[in-house]
Symmetry: C2
Amino acid sequence: MKKSIHKKNKKVSISVPAIRRLPQYLSFFKSVNNGENSFVTALEIATALHVDPTQITKDLSGINVKGKTKVGYEIKELINVIESFLGYQIKRKAFVIGAGNLGTALMKFNEFHLEGMEIIKGFDIITEKTGKEINNIKIFSIDTIEEHFDKTPVDIGIITVPANETQKIANILIKNNIKVIWNFSTMPISAPTDIIVENTCIDSSLAMIKWKLNKNMPLIYKNRII
Amino acid sequence: MKKSIHKKNKKVSISVPAIRRLPQYLSFFKSVNNGENSFVTALEIATALHVDPTQITKDLSGINVKGKTKVGYEIKELINVIESFLGYQIKRKAFVIGAGNLGTALMKFNEFHLEGMEIIKGFDIITEKTGKEINNIKIFSIDTIEEHFDKTPVDIGIITVPANETQKIANILIKNNIKVIWNFSTMPISAPTDIIVENTCIDSSLAMIKWKLNKNMPLIYKNRII
């Protein structure tokens, strides 16, 4: 009955920007999900998410989902396919290095569990923080991280330390065979090509905002317009 | 003496990705700054930041900075020009809506002050949070936000509420003539074109990470490979 929705064994072909959009689609589908038989059209999705309907059909066909004529996409199925595609059922363990404001917030994000990432330990350079717990995640001294890697294989290292500490922490993670470095610092890191590096730089967003806000103002440095 | 570094009154021409890279350059320049007369070459910057040297020279000439033959760029000047370009000296007021984990972390980021953004008030729907202070920022009920806009003109509205509340909060901000909506939710928002919308979606980064980690694994939904 649902065969028409999936093309059997079709090779997945999806762009990087489309993968980054999938969590947004998922949020929307969950917000409109009314049960087993609710459907949504590409136009409805596009209108709600403020994008072009052709992008919706392209992105969803990229994860091997096709709508049915007239009724559109079955919402429950869309949710299941996206969650499967993003590997929500495949749990990955993570360490957070840097138990400051952002590190603390990330350790408190219970949504990460649903998304297949479990932060199991935190690390910090500041001794007052070690031994404490944040959302049941214990904080250890960064100096002891190697023995923790020995105890539990961990795939993801989340770096939330200041810029000048970033590469040093990255090197420790690399030495301990980390698969992914998720870098929240402003400082880019150097890593071998087989390591997945994902940068989430909040300051880059603020730079964009400030630039757009100020771009009609004269920016002057030493009496010269820049 | 420093005339050779800047082309006088040259029209600024810089790409959006380059603007997003400027905070990374700034982090690096600050980490290697040794005082008035320290210089850095494009090659040194490129090596440290793991990018192509031609990108460095292009990005920096985009903000009207040119290196000197042999010695390169004066670090102190680079820092000053980038900070001026990003308008760090032009202070912008912000409200945070959603005093949860991420909202709390953002209210605790003292770096925002240096970058020309001052979070002056927080808002939440949960009454237990209102009246409290986070890093000297008082939390008010979202129901009272209009009177706070009347008291203080605010340029930036930072949304850190759950996905299903995002558009409702955006609508309130739009009604109160906000200039920028900085959206940390997974749900994209609809706004008039004269409003600057910046999305920082942490889940998009996680989606990318999980996809790269799992892409060599068969992803199966209802006995079908997706």
